[in-house]
């Protein structure tokens, strides 16, 4: 597992991925690798705990968009929580929030997804 992925767990058939560090090309690919593997295994709901990610670039965002596109093919969903303000702002500018949801807490995310 990449050092960017701090942990993965499952709750209510949702895969929860905790990240740590720069969400760039490398970070994004680490997330997508897990997501694609889980999608293949039949899981369609993903939550990303971004408490440890304070920086994101447009490449990282574009990889998240690729994951969203993949999930749309299987009626899946992805959401994020514990976002730093600058990360939330970037997600918003890049249009990510139109096709996925940002939650405040894990409880809220698990309940809603």
């Amino acid at each position: 597992m990449s050092s960017f992925i701090k942990s993965t767990k499952e709750a209510n058939q949702i895969v929860i991925i905790e990240t740590d560090g720069y969400l760039n090309n490398e970070g994004g690919e680490a997330i997508s690798a897990i997501c694609y593997e889980k999608i293949k295994a039949g899981q369609h709901k993903f939550l990303i705990n971004m408490a440890g990610t304070k920086v994101v670039n447009s490449i990282g965002v574009s990889i998240l968009i690729e994951i969203i596109e993949k999930l749309q093919e299987v009626n899946g969903k992805i959401g994020y929580y514990n976002l730093a303000p600058i990360v939330a702002k970037t997600f918003n500018i890049m249009g990510l929030t139109k096709y996925s949801t940002v939650f405040a807490t894990e409880e809220e995310a698990v309940g809603a997804l």
Partner: protein, 567 residues
């Protein structure tokens, strides 16, 4: 891929603008250079899709850069690299003051970052290069690529903003440092310092000032000086006067009431001026004299006030060395004190000497003598050294007379208290002496040495109980003063002198002895202590017997030689 999900150029430009705006908005909110640089680096990397980055800042003392911020890079791998602003890529940036797009060759020192491309932007302090932002490897979904012109312009804009912010923070840090430096100086100096503003409110108080006025700083700051010094009108007057005349006003040795504690201070009030030389308040400096007073008071137990003041005013007096000058030397000695002390307890000996010395030294200082030394029960006193006056010898003789006169009163009290009286002989000489501080740097004594000193000591030995013996040199200086009466004595031979020395006895008024009081005490003592086998006749009876015996002797026409000698 669904087109609606593509990140378009507009969104990226929007992100760049937002990032630049964020940086601009946040720049002035940072108070710490390290935090500012780290934030700028992270935002630069994010907005330009750089995989990692560094900010290098110039070391204050050299042309070398050091890493001040790093992002997503293995700094351990960079340890030992010398980032010289006058070499390689950095030199190019330094020369052109423009961003530089680079490809990192395998043999370049930056190859240790494992990166292929770099973008270096200058951080400028006015026109000086003070640091660089270095971004590595522009990311894309296809892999890494060089930075383009758009990236260069963006980083240039960020670096320009960062340079301004960096300079502002540095300026603030310098101001804070200067303020802390000034505050530390103010707090560490022993002179009390207050400042007042144009409104007359106290704006600054250092620790020493708070201690002098015996008030907490918090109770003083912000209050008008009229209120703070309401019980010290003199201070308020000085500040008002300074505000009026815009010149320094001083007062020395004034007594002020400091929250119930009286303190002696020197005060100086000066106008506080701004850059344009306009008054913006006053500075009050207070020098606490209480320690100096304590020092003086302690010092004065050993030397006269005159010497203390001279030493405090002129430290050079403390230099070792000597000078030849005229001085008058007085020696006094208690007669028979050794044998007398054998009959006394050690406590009584010390008590007797202390009482005696207290009385004598007070007289010595009254006449500006310097107590040179106490040798057992003897005193050596100097007049005219280090500074002489035309009254030195007169003062020495006046001292001697008053010593003898006061000793009579002293003895009356001792007799009344059933203690043995003491008598002294005094010798005074005047002549050339070598005066100076003699000893070591650790311990030195101001003293005089020479033949004249020795002769004064010899004259003291010649003097009988209650006598004041002076040399011819002394008599010549005081004979015209009607206060003094001299009685010529036979020349004496003294040790160390070939020819006999001409001497005079100074006569003085000896107050009548209060016999009645003494008799009462003696009688009481005898009644209590006389063994029962002896019969005690009263003093009156003894006197009657003696008077009758005298009458009988006169009637029988006895010669004086036949009469028993009376002491």
């Amino acid at each position: 891929m669904n087109k609606q999900f593509n990140i378009n150029e507009l969104q990226l430009k929007y992100l760049e603008l937002e990032t630049l705006l964020d940086i601009t908005n946040e720049l002035n909110s940072f108070e710490n250079v390290s935090v500012l640089l780290q934030e700028i680096l992270i935002k630069s990397c994010a907005v330009l899709n750089a995989s990692s980055g560094l900010i290098l800042m110039q070391n204050n003392n050299s042309d070398l850069f050091q890493i001040e911020a790093e992002f997503n890079i293995d700094v351990e791998a960079l340890k030992g690299i010398i980032f010289n602003k006058k070499k390689g890529f950095f030199n190019e940036v330094n020369q052109n003051r423009k961003p530089l797009n680079i490809q990192i060759a395998n043999d370049n020192f930056l190859a240790r970052t494992n990166c292929t491309y770099g973008l270096i932007a200058p951080l400028l302090d006015k026109k000086d290069l003070v640091g660089v932002i270095v971004l590595f490897d522009k990311e894309s979904r296809a892999g890494i690529s060089p930075f383009d012109d758009s990236d260069t312009n963006m980083l240039s804009a960020i670096a320009s903003q960062a340079g301004v912010a960096y300079n502002n923070i540095k300026l603030m840090e310098n101001i804070k440092e200067a303020k802390t430096f000034n505050d530390n100086i103010m707090q560490s100096i022993v002179t009390g310092v207050f400042t007042t503003n144009l409104m007359g409110e106290i704006s600054h108080v250092n620790r020493a000032a708070a201690a002098i006025i015996n008030l907490e700083r918090e109770m003083v700051i912000g209050n008008h000086y009229d209120y703070v010094f309401e019980s010290n009108e003199i201070i308020n007057q000085l500040i008002s006067k300074c505000e009026e005349v815009l010149a320094t006003i001083s007062e020395t040795q004034i007594q002020i009431d400091c929250n119930g504690k009286s303190t002696s201070v020197n005060i100086s009030v000066s106008p506080l001026l701004n850059d344009l030389n306009e008054p913006i308040g006053s500075v009050v400096a207070m020098e606490d004299l209480s320690n100096l007073d304590k020092l003086k008071s302690t010092f004065k137990k050993y030397v006269s006030k005159q010497i203390v003041d001279q030493l405090l005013e002129n430290e050079e007096m403390l230099n070792l060395g000597g000078q030849e000058q005229e001085a008058t030397i007085l020696f006094s000695d208690i007669r028979g004190f050794t044998s007398m002390s054998e009959t006394m307890s050690p406590t009584d000996v010390v008590e007797t000497l202390n009482d005696y010395f207290n009385l004598m030294i007070e007289i010595i200082f009254k006449y500006n003598g310097t107590l040179d030394k106490i040798i057992g029960d003897a005193l050596m006193v100097i007049y005219g050294a280090p500074n002489s006056t035309d009254k030195d010898t007169e003062n020495a003789v006046l001292t001697a007379i008053e010593m003898q006169e006061k000793l009579i009163e002293f003895n009356q009290l001792r007799i009344i208290n059933s203690k043995l009286p003491i008598t002294i002989g005094i010798g005074i000489n005047r002549g050339k002496v070598i005066s100076g501080n003699i000893g070591s740097r650790q311990q030195m004594n101001f003293t005089v040495i020479g033949d004249s000193v020795n002769l004064a000591s010899r004259l003291c030995s010649v003097a009988a109980s209650d006598e004041i013996i002076v040399s011819d040199a002394v008599w010549k200086q005081v004979k015209d003063n009607k206060l003094f009466k001299g009685k010529k004595l036979s020349p004496v031979k003294v040790k160390g002198k070939v020819k006999p020395i001409q001497i005079k006895e100074i006569l003085y008024h000896r107050p009548a002895f209060h016999y009645e009081q003494a008799f009462e005490k003696i009688e009481a003592f005898l009644i209590t202590h006389l063994p029962t086998k002896y019969t005690y006749h009263t003093i009156h009876h003894i006197r009657d017997v003696v008077e009758q015996a005298e009458k009988i002797a006169k009637k029988e026409k006895m010669s004086k030689a036949e009469c028993p000698k009376q002491k």
